[in-house]
């Protein structure tokens, strides 16, 4: 029997490996170390993230397949990995004080966050549907648990259970889709699928088409697009706020990373078949997200619907599917990571145990007491609404101009109208903060240094990406060469 061991290319999974090892070491540490030593766990996890980030930057520009074409190292994967690492780092920074206040200071929290990041990174670098599935399961499992991390709070447990049940169901759809595509093409490898589909005469195999439809359901659930969005508001509301921040960005980016690679690369010959499905999904997602967000009283629920709407904008860019469209997905995801995490950071800081301040009306008069915090929140709200000179504005500009260029003028108009609608509920918070008198006394805020650093990074990112957009768009354009 001759065994051929496939070539092992460690550098291709370097960042994943770094984070996995960090997570395992920290897991041991959280069991054996003394309680004082355990306080170092969040900082050690930051060290691991920083190391992985450096590794990603040093690998930029290289491209290679590894492990028998299971994973691929290219700029596209690296771009998303950098987004995941930034997301993870900001989440860790924002969690330290929050967990202490809530009385859940456990090392396992950071371990699970790191493992979730590992899963997301595998999903971004997947060159095989099996890796897509395993990466998705790894980060989903970690996030199901993290959503229920505040075990004594019924809302947190409810959120975890809801996400778990619906998530498991949607994974079933994804897996069935993968199975049918395997049945039709005889391979799960994305390159193999691409070669098979581009050779086959158009539209012959119904198996492939059902498989494609089921994949859309699976990915649509993870990125929270309508009509697979039902879980989003409840889960976002109940989960610990730091985890809400994490899952409003991380899984969405991971979902889109795999969604784009599978549809724009492997299934690109079938573009005429899936593009109209995505067109409808984009319109529904944007419209429902923005319209329902207006009626929300709880700020976490409002941001949940806003995150649905943002998934809709990204779907618009996916429909455009040309160079600018695809690059603007990456650009928008990066901008979205900074502005959304920042907004949740302010919510974490402003709410505290016992007095959560989760209603939008709680923000009235905040600017008089905390001018700096209100200004920071206003920047994130402006960016989410898409007002220059923030990153959100440029992102939407790229997306809609890509849609117009690709000939989807109707879609671009619906998008712009939606964007105008969204200004109402984002600016309402700013109006509340600056133009209303406070409804109650505010307790004194004591931001931890880590939180301050996180907010500074988020503000800096939001403005920097918005003011010098061409640099980041160029990076995004370099990244998508692998898909074209």
């Amino acid at each position: 029997m001759n065994l051929v061991i496939p070539e092992i290319n460690w550098s291709a999974i370097g960042p994943e490996l770094t984070l996995s090892i960090t997570a395992m070491v920290l897991l041991l540490l959280s069991v054996v170390a003394s309680p004082t030593a355990r306080r170092a766990i969040p900082y050690l996890s930051l060290l691991g993230i920083a190391f992985a980030l450096l590794l990603c930057i040093s690998l930029w520009g290289k491209s290679a397949y590894a492990f028998n074409r299971m994973v691929v190292l290219d700029n596209y994967a690296l771009f998303f990995k950098i987004i995941f690492l930034i997301t993870t780092a900001l989440t860790v920074l924002m969690s330290i004080r929050y967990l202490k206040e809530q009385g859940y200071e456990h090392g396992e929290y950071y371990v699970l966050i790191l493992f979730a990041a590992v899963g997301m990174m595998f999903m971004a670098s997947a060159a095989d549907l099996i890796i897509v599935f395993l990466g998705l399961e790894t980060f989903s499992l970690a996030i199901y648990v993290l959503a229920g991390f505040f075990r004594a709070q019924p809302k947190s447990i409810e959120s975890s259970l809801k996400y778990f049940l619906l998530g498991a169901f949607s994974t079933g759809f994804l897996l069935y889709g993968i199975a049918l595509i395997y049945g039709a093409t005889g391979t799960t490898n994305l390159k193999g699928i691409y070669e098979f589909v581009s050779k086959a005469p158009a539209l012959t195999d119904p198996l492939l088409l059902i498989g494609m439809g089921l994949l859309i359901v699976g990915f649509g659930f993870k990125v929270a697009s309508v009509p697979f969005h039902m879980w989003t508001p409840d889960v976002y509301e109940g989960a610990p706020t730091s985890i809400t921040a994490f899952m409003s960005v991380g899984p969405k980016a991971a979902g889109f990373a795999a969604f784009l690679r599978v549809f724009l690369y492997a299934l690109s010959p079938l573009q005429t078949d899936w593009i109209w499905i995505l067109w409808v999904l984009a319109v529904l997602t944007m419209t429902l997200g923005n319209v329902v967000a207006i009626a929300q009283k709880n700020i976490k629920r409002m941001l949940a619907y806003s995150s649905i709407a943002h998934a809709g904008y990204i779907l618009v860019a996916m429909v455009a599917a040309d160079e600018l469209g695809t690059a603007s997905v990456l650009y928008y995801m990066l901008a979205y990571a900074f502005m959304n995490l920042g907004a949740f950071g302010v919510i974490i800081l402003f709410g505290r145990k016992g007095e959560e301040n989760v209603n939008i009306s709680d923000y009235s008069g905040m600017a008089a007491k905390y001018p700096l915090l209100a200004a920071v929140m206003a920047i994130f709200m402006f960016s989410l609404a898409g007002i220059p000179p923030t990153a959100g504005f440029v992102g939407k500009f790229y997306i809609f101009s890509a849609a117009v260029k690709a000939g989807y003028i109707g879609l671009a108009i619906i998008g712009v109208l939606n964007s105008a609608l969204s200004v109402y509920f984002y600016l309402r918070i700013t109006v509340m903060m600056y133009m209303r008198s406070p409804e109650k006394e505010f307790a004194k805020l004591e931001p931890s240094p880590a939180m301050v650093i996180a907010l500074i990074i988020a503000v800096f990112g939001t403005l920097q990406i918005g003011i010098t957009p061409s640099h980041y768009l160029n990076l995004a354009k370099q990244s998508i060469l692998a898909l074209m």
Partner: protein
């Protein structure tokens, strides 16, 4: 001919048992029907000439996991379920309707054309010649080495998660 008969029999029993799993009120009865479903699935795997997966299915699922299931059900001593949520009736009707539409669509496509997927690297004849378990093992440690390792990370996450959620004091 005999194979087709066996397949239809197994498929019918699997489907009926699977439906019974979700409509039973008694959790122990549900679990028993689940065991029947898993056994029948193992039979279908055998028909697909995948004896290794069939054996694993019986050993792991119908054996180990179901024993744990029954233990948990008995230890928890479940009370009679209470209805907490009064669901929107329209939602239920719509859900059933859409589910039916999806089923009909898939059924229509499967029945309208003779599906013939393309073959992978290891068609049934080759597997039979090499030995089923051997092929699985060989693939697992060569081509599918990375997924195999990711699964171990996945299981670690699951274990940590279970402890975090269930242990009295972390």
């Amino acid at each position: 001919m005999f194979e087709t008969f066996l397949f239809v029999l197994l498929a019918v029993v699997t489907t009926i048992a699977a439906i019974l799993v979700i409509v039973q009120r008694n959790p122990v009865a549900s679990a028993i029907y689940l065991i029947i479903t898993l056994f029948c699935l193992a039979g279908i795997y055998l028909l697909l000439s995948a004896p290794f997966i069939a054996v694993i299915q019986v050993l792991v699922y119908a054996g180990a996991i179901m024993v744990l299931f029954l233990f948990v059900i008995m230890l928890l001593n479940l009370e009679k379920e209470k209805k907490l949520i009064y669901r929107n009736r329209l939602q239920k009707v719509l859900g059933v309707f859409l589910g039916g539409v999806l089923l009909a669509q898939i059924g229509m496509i499967f029945s309208s054309v003779l599906l013939e997927g393309s073959k992978g690297k290891f068609p049934a004849e080759k597997v039979a010649a090499l030995g089923n378990t051997e092929v699985v093992a060989r693939l697992l440690f060569t081509d599918f080495l990375l997924p195999f390792e990711i699964v171990s990370v996945l299981l670690l996450v699951a274990i940590v998660g279970a402890i975090v959620l269930a242990k009295k004091q972390i």
